[in-house]
């Protein structure tokens, strides 16, 4: 009985130590585990100007402009506090639209415009049929993408 | 025919939806079939050995009689 008790204690203490160590490591690496920065992070934190980085935010309604060459687009990203103009040349994912959350990868230019070479669409955790989404929008109870 | 074509097209995403289901089917069927075949092979091997050995050496009954 005591040997079982001892093995149980060893396993529990081991798991506790392991969990604590993992939590400390994850906390220490927090900034590196972040997949993208927000426009506010870009504006307030020291961001390396010459390194590729990712910015995530919502495409501002009405900000999307296609340039004359047909493949370059310009739009404004917002995290509802700060905005960041983005230029991107390439194919946009199917989910890309105004009011949609996206993640852009590229470099921050000296003029404050973010030059993206890759744009990924982010979607939210809401799943519903189109009719339900329309009905919610009409009745003003919409809480999904583009509601804010 | 048109309805079938439309169904298979999956709104233009058929090339992503169907492979996803195909992969799941192949992997799950694969592990099920492999597990059943191993079970049957071992069951036959145990039966053959038990028949060859004197009965008194058998302990605890058959290990698998299902």
């Amino acid at each position: 009985m005591t040997r079982k008790r001892r093995r149980l204690t060893i396993v529990l203490l081991g798991m506790l130590a392991l969990g604590g160590a993992t939590a400390l490591v994850l906390a220490a690496f927090e900034d590196n585990l972040v997949f993208f920065y927000s426009p506010t992070d870009i504006a307030t934190k020291p961001v390396p100007k010459d390194r590729r980085l990712r910015v995530g935010g919502i495409v501002v309604d009405g900000s999307l402009q296609r340039e004359r060459d047909g493949v370059t687009v310009a739009f404004v990203l917002t995290d509802l506090a700060t905005t960041l103009p983005v230029r991107y040349k390439g194919v946009l994912p199917d989910l890309f639209r105004e009011g949609q959350g996206i993640v852009a990868q590229g470099r921050l230019g000296t003029d404050g415009t973010f030059a993206a070479d890759e744009v990924l669409a982010k979607h939210d955790e809401n799943y519903m049929p189109p009719e339900v989404a329309n009905a919610l929008r009409k009745s003003g109870q919409w809480k999904g993408e583009g509601a804010r | 025919m048109d309805a079938l074509g439309q169904f298979l097209a999956m709104g233009g995403y058929g090339a992503y939806v169907w492979p996803a289901y195909a992969i799941a089917l192949v992997v799950l069927a694969g592990i099920l079939i492999a597990s059943v075949r191993t079970l049957n092979t071992r069951r036959r091997a145990v039966a053959a050995l038990e028949a060859a050995l004197p009965r008194r050496r058998r302990q605890g009954g058959s290990a698998d009689d299902a």
């Binding site: 049929p129 189109p130 | 992503y16 799941a24 597990s35 050995l49």
Partner: protein, 253 residues
């Protein structure tokens, strides 16, 4: 000696009764789930028809986590209480969990390409699930890395417990860090944010996957017990094949 056989024998009797029922309900749940997934559920307002990938992707992800949690629990029971079936069950579950993890990653990739615009990104959620796949492969490899199968099992059990810290990381990665992967939709505070018409096929497929796991697990446990019996029988045969007089002489004389 006797108690080591008592539990597996009782287990086999129970398994023989439970398994056909599980298999039948599993087939029913998968058939109903597939029907609803393809014919009786709507496309998503944002993702259109690709939402149907969710009905394999999410249940596979749940089972990948569940199987690992079950293995870690069995490993703890085996290490602490030395239950004779614990390591057998843990070893039998590892390949099934690996299969579910592989399905989760492959279907997620096929879903990510059209919706996000990429097959793969190194965000916290995707990376931690890839680590889970490597943990499964490590468990399978470690078990067979020792000549002494007892030591292999014990080493795999320790790895299973160590790797268990990855489970909360996977679950909460989408809440703790900015990820491309969206937060949880079903298991979350405040209830699911998924329409009932889409929740139904999801839960049916999840039930089917869970029962599939149970059925294959039972098959693999029975198979492993047979492999052990086979080893014991071969040993007995080897003894019997030795000069009979040497062992039987004193008994008869």
């Amino acid at each position: 000696m006797l108690h080591r056989f008592a539990n597996p024998a009782r287990f086999l009797r129970i398994a023989a009764v439970v398994q056909p029922w599980c298999a039948a309900i599993c087939a029913l749940a998968l058939a109903a789930g597939l029907y609803v997934a393809f014919f009786a559920s709507p496309p998503d307002y944002q993702q259109g028809e690709t939402v149907r990938i969710m009905y394999v992707h999410v249940p596979a992800a749940w089972m990948a986590l569940f199987a690992y949690a079950a293995i870690a629990l069995a490993a703890a029971v085996g290490l602490i209480w030395r239950h004779p079936l614990a390591f057998v069950a843990a070893g039998a579950a590892a390949p099934i969990g690996a299969a579910f993890t592989a399905i989760c990653l492959a279907t997620g990739s096929l879903w990510g390409k059209p919706m996000w615009g990429t097959w793969w990104v190194w965000d916290a959620r995707l990376t931690s699930v890839l680590v889970l796949l490597f943990l499964y492969l490590g468990l399978i490899a470690l078990r067979h890395a020792f000549d002494d199968s007892d030591r292999g099992e014990r080493a795999a059990a320790v790895l299973a417990l160590v790797g268990a810290v990855n489970l909360p990381i996977i679950k909460f990665s989408v809440d703790w860090w900015n990820t491309l992967h969206q937060p949880a939709s079903v298991v979350k505070i405040g209830g699911p944010t998924i329409h009932p018409a889409m929740l139904t096929p999801l839960l049916l497929m999840a039930a089917g996957f869970m029962l599939f796991f149970v059925v294959v697990l039972l098959i693999r446990i029975r198979s492993e017990l047979l492999a052990r019996r086979l080893r014991a029988l071969r040993l007995a045969q080897a003894h019997a094949a030795e000069p009979a007089a040497a062992t039987r002489g004193p008994v008869l004389g």
